[in-house]
């Protein structure tokens, strides 16, 4: 495979004409995006529009069938060593948290750094405590996930993803499974993360977050990027009728 034609020195994620089918149904149609380092991209769209599938293709939780995805100069293909290397550089936060229920909070966070990055326990635990302080729940370190509230669990999940010191963070509807009162505590952590210069791709329905934090908003519909732009442009003067309809329904 030749990927010289889409090499871009600047972009950390380059997607070109990415297509994906679930059986006969096409979920992604020629999605092309470039994400610059430190950029915060918020992806919105109606459910079933392919936005979750798209970010899951970036760390190959889903396999794209056509097109190219290049992350940090490495192409995401069938090469197992590339897949492993890319996954090391991408942290992911899920809607359902997906914390490991049989491990304590501390063990959840130190697992990947110790097993994948081969850090010492001491280093991994120092890093974990630092991150728990950052997300505001250092006192929960030795509890099990089942003993925490949803908001706390999601903050642990963010700390767990950050423990690998990723270059990119993917958020797949991180606040959709939370009680309204807990959404803010998670969004605050994400805002702080965005301000610290992390490259972030966020699938969310939190328009306030998008408006405040995003550098760019992508609007997905039927597997396509229908419209994209800065939050100001997007929320004030979107052109496409589908975007207008969507915004009129949720704002």
């Amino acid at each position: 495979m030749v990927n010289a034609n889409i090499q871009n020195e600047e972009a950390i994620i380059v997607c070109k004409n990415v297509c994906k089918w679930f059986g006969e149904f096409q979920v992604l149609r020629d999605v092309s995006v470039e994400v610059q380092p430190q950029e915060v991209v918020v992806i919105i769209g109606p459910s079933g529009s392919g936005k979750s599938t798209f970010i899951r293709c970036i760390n190959r939780l889903e396999e794209h069938q056509e097109g190219q995805i290049v992350v940090d100069g490495m192409e995401m293909g069938h090469d197992v060593s590339n897949i492993a290397a890319i996954r090391r550089e991408i942290g992911m936060v899920f809607q359902q948290f997906n914390l490991f229920p049989h491990l304590t909070v501390l063990q959840n966070i130190t697992l990947a750094p110790m097993r994948v990055r081969h850090w010492s326990r001491e280093k991994a635990e120092t890093k974990a405590m630092e991150l728990l302080n950052r997300v505001g729940i250092p006192e929960q370190a030795n509890k099990y996930p089942g003993q925490l509230s949803g908001g706390q669990q999601q903050r642990v999940a963010i700390a767990r993803a950050l423990a690998m010191e990723p270059k990119i963070m993917l958020f797949d509807e991180p606040t959709s499974a939370l009680d309204p009162e807990m959404i803010k505590e998670v969004l605050d952590v994400m805002k702080e993360l965005a301000q610290s210069g992390m490259t972030m791709l966020v699938v969310t329905h939190e328009m306030g977050f998008a408006r405040e934090v995003a550098d760019r908003v992508l609007f997905f519909d039927q597997g396509r990027i229908v419209e994209q732009g800065t939050p100001d442009y997007f929320f004030e003067s979107a052109q496409h009728p589908r975007t207008k309809l969507f915004l009129s329904q949720i704002l």
Binding site: G91, N98, L111, R115, S120, A161
Partner: protein, 563 residues
């Protein structure tokens, strides 16, 4: 609320107290139970006393008077009922202990197959499970015994494995093996592109085919020998072959690009193969191997090789024990290094290596200790002294002598038979085999379903989270999936273990002398049926309690903390 409920009741208040009523209820129930049971017992005892059969344990001292097939050496028909009972217990434990291990292994395997992505594997294992768990165990035992075991050949015509005889293994097989290893190593991740991959694989295949054709001609068509494999450059058929090969190789450049790797590889490969044979580079010789069977199966049962421990075994075990201690120390030490530096160390392999090295060194050291120069053997009713080798050559050694004087710690002996029986080898009776297979196969179907359900009970998100963090597949399985699956698997698995141990009493259907069968015989002969029943019940109860305690203990270690 209606007003009537507030009126004071005429019943005294303590009689309306729910706590008081519960206590009273329990006392009344207990009295009833004691009354009914004691009544029944009294009647039974009275009836038995009339027949002079008062339940007691003294009858266990009486002579049993019946034979048990394949009984251990400490039982004869002159032994007591108590000894016969022990034989039954040992036989039951032999089936249950082996059955538990085998059914677990088989169940896990089938359970994983049930989740296979391969349609054929998945479907076959599904059929296996449904067929076995939907038919009665008794029927399956009959099939194993009366159809499988009793259709085996008679003793003299026993099936053997490997088949007795002489095999010739061509030396070129080793060459093939090396070749395939090299190819596997070079292409193990298929990063070489389809052109080279096609060329290599088709080339090697063509070469091997060519070599085999050459040897076939050489070995089966003597008239071809002078033509095909004399290494003579002037031979006309060789020249023809060279020309055809050259044409094929050149021609391969003219086929379309997508076929070129394939054609080029195969034409070069067949040319090389032909040359290798022609010039005799690959020797046309074979190892001659005499094969003695390790396994026999006949209607009289099965025979396996036996492993005997000699007088020097304990010494050798001391070395092995030392190796195990070292392996554990290494394991802990490397674990600590991994914790403090993060450096991954394959400590399992190192531990294994330590044990293996100590076992080998121990074997050499123990085996090279000087043996007595001459040993006493019985020759024509006289004790004479002679060297070990001489005695062995003269066939004067008994097995006891062999175990006493053989320098190696273990002796491995293949089965040997006369026309009527095995003189060497571990034998297993067909009844035991039928019961074991029946129980294992039947229980494995249930265990397979439990394992499948346990793995499926782990949410898919756990797998995704582990993958997204960059854990490898084996790490994901070991650290994330298994610990969570096991907590679902263990409680029902314990139930299956209980089922297996109790189902073993169906041995009576195929006349395997287990606890229940022997106790039945004892009860029939002695008339002590109440005592016998109680003894069997208590024995199964103890076995079950031990199994339940074990599975509860393991279960507690896998429980989740949720609040």
């Amino acid at each position: 609320m209606s007003a009537t409920q507030h009126q004071p009741s005429s019943i005294p208040s303590f009689l309306r107290d729910v706590r008081f009523l519960q206590v009273i209820g329990q006392i009344v129930f207990a009295i009833l139970v004691v009354f009914v049971v004691s009544r029944i017992m009294t009647d039974v005892f009275a009836a038995l006393q009339k027949n002079n059969l008062t339940p007691n344990l003294a009858f266990l001292q009486n002579r049993a008077g019946f034979d048990i097939s394949n009984s251990p050496s400490w039982y004869t028909s002159n032994s007591s009922y108590g000894t016969a009972f022990q034989v039954g217990l040992v036989n039951t434990l032999r089936v249950v202990s082996v059955g538990l291990v085998l059914s677990t292994l088989l169940g896990i395997l089938i359970g994983v197959f049930l989740l296979s992505r391969n349609w054929l594997v998945r479907t076959i294992s599904r059929v296996y499970v449904e067929l076995l768990r939907n038919t009665p165990l008794l029927l399956q035992l009959f099939v194993w015994y009366f159809i499988v075991m009793l259709s085996l050949p008679i003793f003299r015509e026993a099936y053997t494995f490997p088949p007795e005889g002489v095999a010739h293994i061509p030396i070129r097989i080793a060459f093939y093996g090396i070749l395939i290893l090299v190819i596997w190593w070079r292409t193990r991740r298929w990063e070489i592109g389809s052109f080279r991959r096609n060329a290599i694989i088709s080339g090697v295949a063509a070469m091997l085919v060519m070599i085999e054709i050459g040897f076939w001609l050489y070995n089966n068509q003597p008239s071809w020998q002078s033509v095909y494999a004399n290494g003579d450059m002037t031979s006309s058929s060789f020249l023809l072959y060279a020309v055809i090969s050259a044409v094929l190789i050149v021609g391969a450049w003219f086929v379309p690009i997508q076929w070129r790797g394939l054609t080029l590889g195969s034409s070069i490969g067949q040319a090389i193969g032909g040359l290798l044979v022609y010039f005799g580079i690959i020797p046309n010789s074979a190892f001659r191997i005499e094969i003695y069977p390790a396994f026999y199966a006949s209607i009289r049962g099965f025979a396996f090789p036996e492993l005997l421990t000699t007088a020097r075994f304990a010494e050798w075990m001391a070395f092995v024990g030392l190796g195990i201690v070292l392996a554990i120390a290494q394991w802990v030490y490397f674990g600590r290094i991994t914790e403090t530096t993060g450096k991954p160390i394959p400590r399992g392999w190192y531990a294994l290596l330590a044990v293996v090295i100590f076992a080998i060194v121990g074997w050499v050291v123990v085996g090279s200790e000087p043996a007595p120069v001459s040993i006493p053997v019985l020759q024509e009713d006289q004790t004479v002294y002679m060297p070990l080798e001489e005695a062995r050559a003269g066939n004067l050694l008994t097995i006891q002598d062999e175990l006493q004087y053989n320098p190696s710690p273990l002796i491995f002996r293949l089965p040997e038979r006369t026309n009527f029986k095995f003189i060497v080898g571990t034998e297993i009776q067909p009844e035991y085999m039928a019961l074991l297979l029946g129980l294992v196969v039947y229980t494995s179907a249930f265990i397979a379903e439990i394992v499948r359900a346990g793995i499926q009970a782990v949410p898919y998100g756990q797998l995704e989270a582990a993958r997204a963090m960059g854990l490898t597949n084996s790490q994901t399985l070991r650290l994330i999936i298994l610990p969570q699956a096991l907590r679902v698997i263990i409680p029902p698995l314990g139930n299956q273990y209980l089922n297996l141990s109790k189902n073993s009493s169906l041995a009576i259907a195929i006349a395997y002398a287990d606890l229940f069968l022997i106790t039945t015989t004892i009860m029939n002969q002695s008339g002590q049926s109440v005592t016998g029943m109680v003894m069997v019940m208590l024995t199964y109860l103890i076995i079950s309690l031990i199994i339940a305690a074990g599975s509860n203990w393991i279960n507690r270690r896998f429980q989740l903390v949720t609040r």
